[in-house]
Subunit: 330 residues, 2 copies
């Protein structure tokens, strides 16, 4: 297996005044049920999927039977990097309350919400952000629901906790690889490394899942919940939300350090990409390019062009340049 | 001349859980009065210096005699990417008023201030940000002061305006190269392209300047003003401010899309670097590494370690990794 630096290729460029200003290298892989269909860079490059693999991390919650009756909005929230809007905070709080739990049971930590109205409300009211605002609080509430079922201890983010052992087993099974190790994610949970090809293979398994067994039923429920509730997966102005709204049944998910994945059920395809430098703007442009190439997204739609193709303007509305795909990519 | 993508080398890496997660490539050049002393990547790579060249853009203001009595705080502000704190806004407003001008004469556009207390005040009071908050409003006020002297028209950011013609002449003279063209900057002013080696050569000229002619006097005044008033050049928590405070007479300046320059008068050295992907965290880590290598900055100082060397911790204080220099750099 290579690392993220080795074998990367230019994917996205920033142009200003007719001249290349910045360039983003990376790796991108499209898989079907049999394996790699198309790739740029090195499918064997090892990456941390970060939040892009939340639908994999949610599998044990469903396969265990712990979430047999969980509604699709909460399933979407378990796969979300939400932005801590009032709606997201209330949804997580209610879900915890329904389990007899509270914010204090979370182990994701606290950060200021990305949602501007909620951020402003906190600033002006003097209220403090809490763990409910953490973009991963839905995933963690899913961990807590699984933990109630497993009767594990309170420190459910430890790598040797039954919750994380179940996550690791599902992760390795779905990616088809033994993970070479894990890192601590921003939310304190272990994040298992995999090859970018393994992550794409996992997304293809979600895309091709059939409701014939527990794994297949879990995958179909999760991908369907994400596609049906894009507002729960991220939030207003965010790429995951805005792009899923204008596609039909396609689930996509971003991860920190510029990872992006897509699940395309009608085409039976899975996608994973990683920008080597961690630049989010390039990950968004690259997933738009791939979704358009696969016929899942109209590249002329304003939500697509916002990420790739629209002229970039400054504070006075003067156009200064644009993002472009690098030669040889898509 | 090459472009930013060609000939770049790995400079800064992000490690998580003992594994490379992301990597930043780029170009870095150290010059003395005779030319390149040391380089990583390609000194001929063409870049936009963006805000890193504000001290060059301020030269005509001084050399024209328009700023003969301008105090050092305002000189520093002319070279600043300030964060729109109450102090910065008041300083720009007062400077404009002393010229009989106002915020309406600026052509930099409006953006939300980076300064958190001022941002919060605006949010909670319902006041709107104005052009004074723009990080370039000091540079633009310098343009306006030159413009009064030159008796030019009001649209001083147009490329064919006498102000920008004077800036271009100074820029090409100091970098020692004909600029291959310009792009429109975030603040609407033309930003002239140059090689990264040319930018480093320009910084070396600032470092070696003597007060024997108008150019030399202007360079000494500007580099001294920046080093003496680091709070005016950026603001609290910002790299330029925090690092200049702990160095002796060294002027440094960041630019958008991950450019960083340094002027080291006692060593007679100039530095310029560009991270190819535009990642600011890597530009800050790289300039810390070079300043430490040149003996200008203690790499163990908390303000240095904040940018390179300190363990990275998440929202719950758990350490997950660190930034490292790539093999072969510094």
């Amino acid at each position: 297996m290579g690392d993220v630096a080795t074998g990367s290729v230019p994917l996205v460029e920033l142009w200003r005044g007719g001249r290349l200003e910045s360039v983003h290298r990376g790796h991108a892989v499209i898989c079907d049920s049999r394996g790699v269909v198309e790739a740029w860079g090195d499918p064997a490059a090892v990456i941390y999927p970060r939040s892009s693999c939340k639908m994999i991390q949610a599998l044990p919650l469903l396969e265990s039977g712990a979430a047999a009756t969980l509604d699709p909005r909460r399933l979407a929230l378990a796969c979300a990097s939400h932005q801590g809007s009032a709606m997201h905070v209330a949804a997580v709080r209610d879900w915890l309350a329904d389990m007899g739990l509270s914010e204090a049971d979370l182990r994701c930590g606290t950060h200021e919400p990305g949602d501007i109205p909620e951020r402003n409300r906190l600033i002006c009211s003097g209220d403090s952000a809490c763990q409910l605002h953490n973009n991963c609080s839905g995933k963690h509430t899913g961990f807590l629901m699984l933990n109630q079922h497993l009767r594990g201890g309170s420190e459910y983010v430890e790598a040797d906790h039954p919750v994380q052992k179940a996550v690791k087993a599902a992760f390795e099974d779905v990616t088809g690889e033994a993970s070479p190790g894990y890192g601590i994610d921003g939310c304190s949970a272990p994040n298992f490394a995999t090859s970018i090809g393994g992550l794409a293979r996992g997304m293809a398994r979600f895309a091709n899942a059939q409701e014939t067994d527990a794994r297949g039923r879990a995958m179909v429920r999760l991908r369907s919940a994400m596609a049906a509730h894009p507002d729960m997966v991220a939030g207003e102005s965010r790429a995951c939300t805005e792009l899923m709204r204008v596609m039909d049944g396609v689930a996509i998910k971003t991860g920190a350090e510029a990872v992006f994945v897509a699940i395309l059920p009608t085409r039976g395809l899975g996608v994973a990409l990683k920008i080597a430098d961690g630049g989010t703007r390039a990950a968004e442009a690259a997933i738009v390019a791939i979704l358009a190439r696969l016929g899942a997204l109209d590249p002329a739609h304003p939500m697509a062009r916002k990420r790739l193709g629209a002229p970039q303007a400054n504070w006075r509305g003067k156009v200064w340049g644009e993002l472009r795909l690098a030669q040889g990519f898509c």
